[in-house]
Structures are given as structure tokens and as C-alpha cells.
Assembly symmetry: C2
Homo-oligomer: 189 residues x 2
Amino acid sequence: MANTRLEILKKYYKKNRRLPSYSEMLKLFNLSSKNSVFKIVNKWIDENFLKKINGKLSPTSKFFALPLLGNIKAGFPILAEENKNYLTLDDYLIEDPSTSFLLKVSGDSMTGVGIFEGDIVIVEKKKIPTIGDIVLAQIDREWTLKIFKKDRKKHTNYLEAANPKYPPLYPLQELQIYGVVKAVIRKFN
Amino acid sequence: MANTRLEILKKYYKKNRRLPSYSEMLKLFNLSSKNSVFKIVNKWIDENFLKKINGKLSPTSKFFALPLLGNIKAGFPILAEENKNYLTLDDYLIEDPSTSFLLKVSGDSMTGVGIFEGDIVIVEKKKIPTIGDIVLAQIDREWTLKIFKKDRKKHTNYLEAANPKYPPLYPLQELQIYGVVKAVIRKFN
DNA sequence: CTTGACAGTGAACAAATGTTTACTATATAA
DNA sequence: TTATATAGTAAACATTTGTTCACTGTCAAG
């Protein structure tokens, strides 16, 4: 299989977080001429798995991307090579690593929007929230994860749970927004 | 700030998916002696942001990791430098990239386990499921995402929705498992 | 005032890198 | 059969790489 070497390369990258040098690929692919590697790499560049910017080799997003399959309800063979889209998880989830952090969720106040106890939430710091955003906030010195809302009559912002059993939270003194929830992830097992 | 350069480096890596060479860092950091870079890099190695394996530089997981903060209910300042854990999303979510793919979910049959319409699910191919796993399966030629169950009395496997409004699915002819759901992700906005 | 740590410069260099050119073997298609 | 594309080898080489050594200026602590 022609793909096998690419798989080896991907595994190498996954493990070492960098591409191997040509000499390293030599060993990796069990070849004995650097020129073989040179040709193979050039083919991958043509196929857009790798690219070269002023002589420096780096992987493209195609290199990392996982196939993203569509609608599961439609009866046709979704695993076919067609109708494939690709997605790189890290790029998809994290816009700005320097202002993002993860937060392990506790409590059941956000079950209505599918955020459960134990889920991990990606929070982007310091963003001014839009009405309706899920925010990490400190309301009267109490930390919480809620929906950011505006009361038009009272001209104040308040927080709302996504679970009918919790009442809306109006700040007595202070409502401070620390970040906006960009995504949730949940791992099974 | 001493961290600024590390931020620059992280951005470079995020963009180019590789570390810059020392000469490239020279420009990146606005320095004029390679030896300066050499020393800076060595400090980062000491601090475990980078590492060197037979002379080859690569980032550690600390380099990528986002801070993972704990229990939000507990009233103390969770954004403090302490009680920090770190997590690398890609590593956390994807064990084997070569057998994993993503699937955009449609339908409301799995809302009970917090999988909603539009969510993206990470599926690992060809795994033999454990009872209770969420599986991507073909039941009587129909594709679906359900919970894998075993009927002890009838000695057959069947599929169960995570939504009371859908009945359990017993295969008339064939139940074929294509993969196991390892994680869900949902992006807001 | 001095000492030492810290941050940076500059030059020199062996080793490794990516690239080029020329050649071989094998299989496939005309 | 004869081409011709594909996959690989081998050697040679300029360029770039990471590293070492010697040096300068600055700032804070003793």
C-alpha cells in the first residue's frame, strides 16, 4: 500500500510532534538512498499532505485531518471515499491557545444545553459576551457557569441556568464575566 | 515578560506545525546571535517545554497543554497558578488517528447521553464493542447511532436509543457494528 | 564598590541537511 | 517487441544546522 509510509510518517509526527529529517525517514521507510525519500516527499507535497515554505518542510492540514462524515440517517454507504470532508480537531476547537483554558464541569445546571457533570468545557478568557453566550462568571463572589442574559426592563445583566429547576440569578452587587464557553467535549469510558 | 517569546514560539508552531530552526528564531525573537537562541532554548528544555532526542528538538506535551481547571462550584479562585492540570486536546481525544473518523450527528435519539443534533462524534473503527458502548451500526441495512446492548434471555445483541420515545431495536437479519463512539464535541456559535 | 548572575553579541566549525545528477531494475502499456 | 513510467540506489556537494568559546553591558545584592 502506498499509504503505509504516510501512515508511518503520521505516527512519527504524532509521537514526536515534528517531521523526521530525510535521513530519519530513510530508516523509517527502510530505504538506502536519501534520494528515494526526496522523491517520496515531493509526491506528498504534490498530493498536499506536506508543503515547503522557503525550503522548510511542514505538514498541511490535510496531513492531520480526520474524515468528517455527514448525516448518518441517510441510508447510503457513509464510509465510501466520496462525500468526505476533513477536519483538524485542534484547529477546529481552539482558536487562541494563549487565552483558552479547559474547565471540568460539575453540577447539573446546564443539562439543557447538553453540558453535564464531568464534561470538559473550552473557555476563552476575557471575551465580552454576547447575549445568550454560555459564560464562566463570578456572581457576588460565587463562581458559576451559566447563560448570559440581559434584562431590558431592569437594564441589568443576569445569569440563567439551562435547567428549569434553577432560578435566574440576578447579581446583588457584582457580575463579572471571566470567559465564554466555545465548546464542550465529553469522553466516554 | 519572559513568557512572551514562548508565546511567539507557540504561535509559530500553531501556524507552521513545526518548530523554527535557531536561525529562524533569531528573526522571530529579534536577536542577532544564534547563541542567544541556543541559551533560550536550553532554558525551555530545562523548564520542560521542549526536549531533545538525539540532538533533535521537539515540543513536549507541556508545550501544547491547556490548563485544566477543576471544580467550578468550589468558591476559591480557580484561575490561580496552583491546582492546575494540563491537557492536550488532540492527545486526549484521539488515540489512533488511522482508525478514527468524525461524524456529524443528526436526530434526537441520543439526547439522553448528551448527544444532540449537530454534534460531532469521534468514532473508532472496527472495535468490538463492550455492552453499553455507544456504537455506529448498521441494523438491517439502516445506519444508526445507538447503545449496544445484550439480551441475556434471547441471546442476541440489540440497540437501544437514549431517548424514551424510541423503542429498542432488535435486528431482524443483521446487526453490524462499524465503530465505537469515543467522544462527543459540540461547538457553540 | 564589587561580585555575580543574567541577557545578549560575534565568530568559528564539525556535522547533518536537502538537493542534484547519473544510473539500475522492474513492471506496465502500446 | 519497444517504450515508458515507477521505485529504488549511489555519490557528490553547497548550505544550513546546532554547538562551543570568548567576550560585553547591565542590574541587583552583599
